[in-house]
Each structure stands twice: as structure tokens, then as C-alpha cells.
Symmetry: none
């Protein structure tokens, strides 16, 4: 199926390394480089042996956005036969910056995979990061059919769902569904400066979810927000207006108005697609109360291995000042039942498998 | 261990039914009632046969907060020998409203379990909902030792972690760590009214997490926010101020200031406990590339046990259908070095321990 085979990825962060891992698995020849030798080394050890001397047919620029236009021109010049794509979080600026270099821009197709996490770096990379995820593509005005075809082939090979948007559509939408949530999460966390360390320890899952994005790289995000500041400013204005309305209804003890505002949030939340952007994995969850001491997890995993069950994921909740913790294993339904039986018969405090982590 | 045995729960929602299920499992005699016959029927079917004529020693008021003071007085009068506790999300108002009824308030201890989900109702109830969760308790000025003892016995029986706060401490803290996140999530979602259905479909996990709480019951939350509107107003003011600062720095293209604000969010986010209920601990992270097959984790944990290392947390990133996965262990610095040496000498593809998971 592949119409080309040699790919060079520039940038060994989460996205670049995940693309490299996924394409390697799909049978492409890969090389990856990064200006940071340590990141490059990690990515290469994940990839196995790469081909240093590879002449790429496709170059994937997977760096922070500020570096992208320059790298497109550099690598486009270095490999005049190759086509290029990027994975940057904004599209107007990069297309604007290369439009005066037609011999380059004709070989380029802009793209943006809607995947990635608040953590970053090659170590977090996964070849299946893009499976079932939206992957936006935005051709340049003069993108050649070959440049577009190769970019779309990459998206398909990695299991992404292709959506074509103009640069303006992309950047406006991203301001609402990605940049605004980042801002809100960061500013909520910043507001917690007024809560003591002891009291912040009482936080439940709600705060953890809403504030999760605040862990993001602040330099990378400051650059993204500024590159898209016009569209971001528009959403911030609406959001600010909503905050003012709620402050007023609280001050006036106008319960009905407060409920109306919350209800507007509920209705619009219902328009967001479900938890699993892509393929849903049907994990079952098995909660086990353990003593918080060395060797407990080893014994649990021995039991899993004994019944040939593959643990898909795991979380550990410790109870401060107490000797017990809660371990939740994520398994296939069949495996969760096997492990449940095994652990129960071994005398563990294990609960019935359940479909939701609760 | 139990110093009493007969419990009546008023309110068959998520919390009330979960308490009833958990206490029944722990050996108490239970009855449950709800003004809504359907909710009561569901809770009773989950509980099995309840004792309608039971004379309770403890009454748990598990209704929305607006009904709590009245129900405390009613049931306190109806069962003059019983002690009472509530599970309401605010503490100042309820204690204020019963303080003129000393024959009731002496038998009452206010509490608030920090568990519950954006979904609600008896059907979602689980007897283990509170295991390992914080459960705040706030005695009245004249709470009797017996009223306190029984409330604490319930918390212990359900596996909760007891934290004593004054009513003011509780309500201020909750405004910051629970009410503000709810507002922010709802208002973010309300702002999405400006994004089309097609474009909202492009949303990734970030928006889903930050907006998750917006699915909450708007009537219940409007009442909570209004009952705590003074403390909530204080946090909203700080949050608003942060929004204004960021809008200004974007308008002025002041990249450094934007980054400073985001960084303040990142630093405060780091103070929120992670998977662990308690204080953030200084973990070191040990990444290991494994074959994705049963038994690998057992071998890793055997190695940890061999060097007497306690695994504090663990994440698994893997690729179904691919042969490798990435396991990251969280350990103390000392343990991370011991485990690193052990795994390296056993031939595992293990990377040097590092201070951040990224």
C-alpha cells in the first residue's frame, strides 16, 4: 500500500517520536534527529537502529512552532526531492511564512494531529498515539498532489482521522477547543495560590481533571497563545463576560440566573464528543486493597502472570498516614475475571471487576 | 468493634445509598428512605430487604444541602435517642441553623465525604465509594462525645480518612478546590456556544477533562454556590484578575508576562496531590522498555522486591499489537537507584532514573 518508504522526522519530542514509532511499525524506514542529543538518543533507542544516511522521500517537521518555517526551508533545500509536512499547532503563520518560497511550499502540506498530552518528550511516545484521533490537514495554496498524498498516507498509516480545514478555520477552532481550555486550566491553578498546602491536599478528582492541563510546558504554550492571540482574545472575551455574569448573579443572590448559566454550560458540554476521541478500549477495572509495603505489587503481578493475564494499566492510590492503599488494575473483561478469581482465592481484598473506574 | 448497630439513611442518592451499602456490608442494620419513591425503591433493591420498623441509633442525613437543617430537626425530634450526622457539601450554614436547638445540636456531628462523581443517583452507588477518600468532620460547638464517636465510626467503617476542620476552614477551602473548578468548567463549556457542532467534534482529551464537571446537576450546584457565595466570590475575584492579566499580556504581545502567568499555574498545579491522596512526594521516575506480554511486570516487581524497594506509583504506556511497551516506576530516589542497578544487571532496557516523568 505504501507509495514511498523513507521518512526523516525532525524533532524527537512526544509527537515526533510517536510518529516515528508508528511509521516504523507500519513498515517505513525511519531516521529521527533532534538538536538535543539526549532526546535524540532516547528516541533512537525506542526505534531500534535507525539509518543515519537515509535520503528521505518525506520529511516530518515535529518541532515547536517557532522553529517550523525555518526548518521547512532548510530541510526542503537540503533534500530537494523530498516532500514535507509539519505537525504544528497553528497553520496561518507557517503558510504565510513559506509562501514566498514556491519551490519549497509546493512540496509542503501543513497538518496538525489532535493528540498529545500535558507531558512531553520521547519517553512518553507511543506508536498508537494517533489511532482514532482527528488529524487536521491544511494544504498550501500551491501544494503538489504528491505532497498532499504523502501527508495523507502518513495520517492513514498511523490510524488518524483526516479532516481538511483552511488555515483560518483551523486557528479559530483551535483557539476555542484547545487554547481556551489550556488558559482556563492554568489560571484556575494559579488562583489556588490562595489555598494552603494542607487544604489543597483535600482536593478530589474534579480539581485534578480541570487543572490537569496546567502541567503543560509554559514556554511552548506562551508561544502558541501569542501566535494565535487574535482568535484567543475573542474567546477570552466571551469567557470573561460569562465570569462577570456569574459573579453578578452570586452577588445579587439571583439563584435562577446562576442556574441558567450553569445549565448553558451543561448543554454545551453535551455537544462535546464522548470521553474516547478515538477507538474505545474496553477495559475492566479491578480494585484491590493492599498493604502499603514492598512486595505487594510483585505478588499481585505474579498472580496475573500465573493466569496469563495482561495488565493494560494500573493506578495506585495511597492513603496518607495509613498502611493501606488501593490498586486498580485495568484488564480485558476476560482477564479481569481470571485475575479476580485468582486473587480472591489467594485471600486478597479484591472487589468485583467493574466497567468504570468510578 | 461496632459500638452501635442500627442506622437510618435519609436520602437515596449516590452518597446516601453508597453509605448504606457500605455499612450493611460492614454488619450494620440499615434502613433507607427518600421522598422520591423510585429512588427509595432502587436503593432498597440494592440493599436487599431493609427493616422498615427499625429504631435507629444513628441517622445519616444524605440529601441536598437546602433540606438538611429541617431534616435534622425533624428526625432528631422523631428519634430522641438517636445521634445524627450529615454529608452536606457546606458546614457553616447547617451548624448556624441548628444552634438554637441545643437538644438536637448536641446529638449532631457534621461531616463531608470528599467522594462522589458528576453522575448521581442510587444506581451509581458503591459500598466502596469512600475507601481511601478524605472525609471531613466538623463537630457542632456542643456535639456530644457519643455523636462524634458514632460519626467517626461510620467514616472508619467505610474506609474514609478522617480530617477535622472548622466550619469556616471547610467552606473556604471547598470554595477553592471544589466550587471554583465547577464554575470554571461550566463557564468554559458555556463559552463553546461560539464553536460549531462540526468544529467541537475536533476536541481532544484536554477540553474533555477541563469541561467534565460541566455535566453536573445545575440546580444542585446553583444551590451550593449560593449557600457559599461569599467564599466563592473571593476566589472568583482572584480568578477574574488572572484572566484580565492574561488578556492584557496577549493584547500587548508581552510573551514573557504570559509565560510567567502560565508558569504560576504550573507551579500551583504541582501542589495538587496526584494519584496520591496526600502530600506530593519527591518521586524519581524509572522508565523501562518492556515486551508487551504477560509476566513482564511480575518480573520487574520481583526485581523490586529483591532489592527491597517500594514502588510508589507506576504507569504503563503500550501499544496493543506491538511488541514493546513503556513502564515508568515512581520510587524514592534511593530505591530508584537500587532498582535501576538490579534491572540493568538483569539485562532490562532501563533508562537512568529522572526527577520528572516528562
Amino acid at each position: 500500500m505504501a507509495t514511498f518508504s523513507r521518512v526523516k522526522v525532525i524533532g524527537a519530542g512526544l509527537i515526533g517520536t510517536s510518529i516515528a514509532l508508528g511509521l516504523k511499525r507500519a513498515g517505513y524506514e525511519l531516521s529521527i534527529e533532534d538538536e538535543d542529543p539526549q532526546s535524540e538518543a532516547i528516541a533512537q533507542s525506542l526505534l531500534g537502529q535507525g539509518d543515519e544516511g537515509l535520503i528521505p522521500e518525506l520529511i516530518v517537521i515535529a518541532t515547536p512552532i517557532s522553529a517550523i518555517p525555518k526548518l521547512i526551508r532548510e530541510y526542503g533545500t537540503l533534500y530537494p526531492q523530498a516532500t514535507l509536512m509539519d505537525i504544528g499547532g497553528l497553520k496561518s503563520e507557517v503558510l504565510e511564512e513559506i509562501k514566498d518560497f514556491p519551490s519549497i511550499s509546493t512540496r509542503f502540506c501543513a497538518t496538525h494531529p489532535m493528540a498529545g498530552r500535558e507531558i512531553s518528550g520521547a519517553l512518553a511516545a507511543r506508536g498508537d498515539l494517533f489511532e482514532g484521533r482527528i488529524w487536521i490537514w491544511t494544504p498550501a495554496q500551491n501544494s503538489s498532489p504528491l505532497a498532499i498524498e504523502r501527508a495523507l498516507e502518513v495520517i492513514s498509516a498511523l490510524g488518524g482521522t483526516k479532516v481538511e480545514l483552511t488555515a483560518h478555520e483551523h486557528d479559530h477552532t483551535i483557539a476555542g477547543i484547545s487554547h481556551l481550555p489550556q488558559i482556563v486550566s492554568s489560571l484556575l491553578s494559579a488562583t489556588l495560590i490562595d489555598v494552603s498546602d494542607r487544604d489543597i491536599g483535600l482536593a478530589g478528582q474534579g480539581l485534578k481533571d480541570v487543572s490537569r492541563l496546567a502541567a503543560s510546558n509554559s514556554s511552548l504554550w506562551a508561544n502558541l497563545l501569542h501566535a494565535n492571540r487574535k482568535a484567543v482574545g475573542e474567546f477570552l472575551e466571551i469567557f470573561s463576560h460569562n465570569i462577570d455574569d456569574l459573579s453578578t448573579s452570586l452577588q445579587n443572590d439571583d439563584l435562577r440566573k446562576t442556574q441558567e448559566i450553569l445549565e448553558l454550560g451543561r448543554e454545551n458540554h453535551a455537544r462535546i464528543p464522548g470521553k474516547h476521541g478515538g477507538k474505545k478500549r474496553d477495559y475492566w477495572y479491578l480494585p484491590i486493597i493492599i498493604e502499603d509495603k514492598p512486595g505487594q505489587l510483585a505478588k499481585i503481578f505474579d498472580a496475573c502472570a500465573l493466569v496469563d493475564a495482561n495488565v493494560e494499566d494500573l493506578s495506585i492510590e495511597h492513603t496518607p498516614g495509613q498502611e493501606s492503599g488501593l490498586v486498580t488494575l485495568a484488564l480485558s473483561k476476560v482477564d479481569s475475571e481470571k485475575v479476580f478469581k485468582q486473587l480472591a482465592s489467594d485471600g486478597w481484598k479484591v472487589h468485583q471487576p467493574r466497567e468504570s473506574i468510578g
